[in-house]
């Protein structure tokens, strides 16, 4: 299990190459990458604020919960903060398990919990100004399925 919170970009390929390599019993790896979308064509950047200290703890707790629920061999979460341009990578999650069902379920669980339980806040900065992204009911609802 590992957690990294950083402003620097990351390389999904390089991260996956080093992830769960040579761990005995790995049959399935799942990765998720979140990317900045610009739905209106006016986004200058997405500014991501976080709560240093709590962020790492909250993500580690979510990972520990995933490990307790599924047969996981490893997990990785990287989340960036600071200003991110459209098409830049925001974050990634990776899971490794003997079987695909565990790897998929744990990756989706990690994503759902990261969205609503890790202390990050997004602000959209456009030519018209800056606006905090509102939490979506759908994201809160997504937690209920677990």
């Amino acid at each position: 299990m590992s957690v990294r919170v950083q402003s620097a970009p990351f390389d999904v390929g390089a991260e996956l190459q080093g992830f769960a390599q040579g761990l005995p019993g790995v049959g399935a790896q799942v990765s998720f990458t979140g990317i900045v979308r610009d739905d209106t064509g006016t986004l200058r950047h997405m500014l991501i604020e976080h709560y240093p200290g709590m962020t790492e703890k909250a993500i580690a707790a979510i990972e520990a919960e995933a490990v307790a629920r599924w047969h996981l061999l490893d997990s990785l979460v990287i989340h960036r903060y600071g200003p991110l341009k459209p098409a830049e990578q925001i974050m990634m999650v990776a899971t490794a398990a003997p079987h695909r069902a565990d790897a998929f379920a744990a990756a989706e669980f990690l994503m759902d919990y990261l969205k609503s339980r890790a202390p990050f806040w997004k602000q959209e900065v456009t030519d018209q100004g800056a606006e905090w992204v509102a939490a979506r009911d759908a994201d809160e609802d997504a937690l209920r399925r677990w």
């Binding site: 974050m91 339980r117 202390p119 806040w121 905090w132």
Partner: protein, 81 residues
């Protein structure tokens, strides 16, 4: 006690964090004290149902006791991922 503010809570109050001397028994009591200080606090805490609170970096609730707590953080619902 260190009190921290994030996202639009930070913007409304105009500070990322501050030291607060308080005898408030619960988070709700602390919020009432802060709201009584100045309009910017009253504005930030107008609707606590739109806010979240963490005590010593763990998500908590507004009726939680503050005894022994060193760091309180107020912020809107998270929007990471």
């Amino acid at each position: 006690m260190n009190v921290m503010y994030f996202a639009w809570v930070r913007e409304r109050i105009g500070l990322p964090q501050e030291q607060v001397e308080t005898k408030a028994a619960t988070v709700a009591d602390l919020v009432a004290e802060l709201k009584a200080r100045e309009p910017r606090y009253a504005a930030a805490f107008a609707d606590t149902s739109a806010l979240r609170v963490a005590l010593d970096q763990e998500l908590s609730s507004f009726d939680a006791p503050l005894k022994g707590v060193r760091e309180v953080a107020f912020f809107p619902p998270m929007t990471g991922g």
